[in-house]
Symmetry: C2
Subunit: 339 residues, 2 copies
DNA sequence: TTGTATGCGTTATCAA
DNA sequence: TTGATAACGCATACAA
């Protein structure tokens, strides 16, 4: 059994109150006593029991993390960011097995509430709306990170997909590309529509015409990227640039372009999305890509939840800027990482 | 403030002891009283405070998860497995920001000990030895999952890399391949050596000669896979099969083979390692691969930690079998998933 | 069948 | 300057 405060008290020949004061720098204690108690505590390896402290304070210095979808590669940077923000505050994170099932979710929430977490961060794989977390009659700070929710009073943090698409279009336009094709994911994804609209806005600003026939929606896969490029070429569409809805799609597209004898970036400049290092960097040539900066999103999520726990409520949806990461698929040497 | 047991007691017109008994099915209570108390508790949304319970029981029903390396794609299935094992036991998981720094790690351990976790699972990215977790004088069940430690008394769970290599060699040999090349990761990785030795053992069993010139070590990257194949072909090495140390390497190798006019699996059968769906399935042709079954490893880790918490100590290193996942890169239609 | 009292480990208040 | 004691919320042994 770990040493408790009474053990320290007995060993040091003082009362528990004195020990508490000595270790927490409270009250007025003779310096000698303080030092002595500390030495004894150190020697005994005393470590205050957080459970007792939390019970007393009514705060657990703990938050819960719930995911409404399987953990995936998006969760990792998000997680890292969240922990980075919480770590200095000495707040620990309870991880809940991701689930799509409302019943499981309810059980997770119940468990978190029973553990008296100070707040909850909800994460999702998609940026499409989900139902709000059901807290019953309990009231507790809840923040949705990389998740949108059907409730205007909710606090949501999302990457700025529109801005990301805009950034891609702007980059390509500035490099002198005129005909930008767009191969992307399923249209039912909010992110797909946002990125597309961002691209369109950037093109309009650059005075470039929008051509529906250059926009192709399909699955989030490499093979779709290949298939879409093949189709564009078969249809003899003319395009000198390609913005892809994901790095995986871009990877397939670049492979297909190369296999059809098109040079990247010579004939076609390509911008991907996600900046998934392992895909973007291994593509030939390495992909210029839009980075949704999920780690920063996680960090902001942690900081905002902290603020909410502190009493500041900040309802509404906030989007965080994406970054342009330049590699070699656009032929630009510039190293802008603009917002 | 959430309702507490006294609130329920007052509202139900009974004492706290009665409430406790009613809700926990203890003691002898008039059925009517029990029902009444339950109804009141339900109405008030009463939820016992785990902090108080844990303090009383001396157990927190909570474990800590520490990683000595950044979270990566390997942690995800591991995590899912761990949670799957712990979920039914209603045990929550504290996640600690992964770190390589012993000082940070010490702080994490201190935090977990202060929270009175019932046990700790340590994870690493590599299967190479790490220093044991420093618990000070505390004693607590610790399990190393996907991590090896320099301490024979420690409990370690690892994928059977040797078995995985053996499985790959056996599969290729059974398909009639005679000259198996091996493109793999850096030799300093224990996993690399194990997988290689497993391959060698399988080849010996099949009566196939081992040729050092067909074994190439390099970085864990696609481009290394391409480079290695290019080198083998340039040196005019003859091989009709290829076992790669990772799916990424295999992907690069397959791309290079195709680009050099070699058919897969026609001219060369290829087996990868990791069964990283997103890589293996998108390779042309889709990769047959060895799956280290990390989710199952995580599940076992959770179950064993549970056993250790229950009092059974089970020191030593245990390896869990890998599975062969057949796709199309070997031309085998058989669907063996042997151990 | 139900109520009361004690303890879990800590901090804070007040008395000494 | 230090010590005793009451919380925090719950379960449980024992008294009624």
């Amino acid at each position: 059994m770990p040493a408790k405060i009474v053990d320290v008290a007995r060993e040091a020949g003082v009362s528990v109150g004195t020990v508490s004061k000595a270790l927490n720098d409270r009250g007025q204690l003779k310096p000698h006593t303080r030092a002595h108690v500390r030495a004894v505590a150190e020697r005994l390896g005393f470590r205050p029991n957080d459970l007792a402290q939390s019970l007393l304070r009514g705060r657990s210095f703990t938050i819960g993390l719930i995911s409404s979808d399987r953990f995936g590669r998006f969760s990792i940077p998000l997680l890292e960011g969240i922990e980075e923000a919480l770590d200095p505050e000495r707040i620990a994170v309870f991880l809940c097995k991701p689930t799509d099932d409302p019943e499981h979710e309810r059980r997770h929430v119940a468990a978190l509430l029973a553990k008296r977490v100070d707040g909850i961060i909800v994460t999702a794989r998609r940026t499409d709306p989900r139902r709000p977390l059901d807290l019953g009659r309990e009231v507790l700070p809840v923040l949705y990170a990389y998740a949108r929710v059907e409730d205007d009073a909710a606090t949501c943090l999302l990457p700025d997909d529109f801005g990301g698409g805009h950034l891609a279009g702007q980059h390509l336009a500035r490099l002198g590309r005129r005909a930008i094709a767009h191969i992307t994911g399923p249209d039912r994804f909010d992110a797909v529509r946002q990125r597309r609209d961002g691209l369109r806005a950037a093109m309009r600003e650059a005075g470039l015409p929008w051509r529906e026939e250059l926009v192709l929606s399909g699955p989030w896969s490499e093979s779709w990227g290949r298939e879409a490029v093949t189709r564009l070429l078969a249809e003899r569409r003319r395009f000198d640039a390609l913005f892809c809805g994901s790095d995986q799609i871009a990877r397939g597209a670049v492979d297909a372009l190369r296999e059809h004898g098109k040079a990247v970036p010579g004939d076609v400049a390509v911008v991907g999305f996600d900046n998934w290092e392992i895909v973007a960097a291994e593509t030939r040539p390495p992909l210029t890509s839009i980075d949704p900066d999920l780690m920063e999103l996680g960090r902001q999520a942690g900081l905002r939840l902290l603020a909410m726990i502190g009493g500041e409520s900040q309802p509404g949806t906030t989007t965080l800027p994406c970054r342009l990461v330049v590699r070699q698929s656009c032929g630009a040497a510039e190293t802008r990482t603009a917002a």
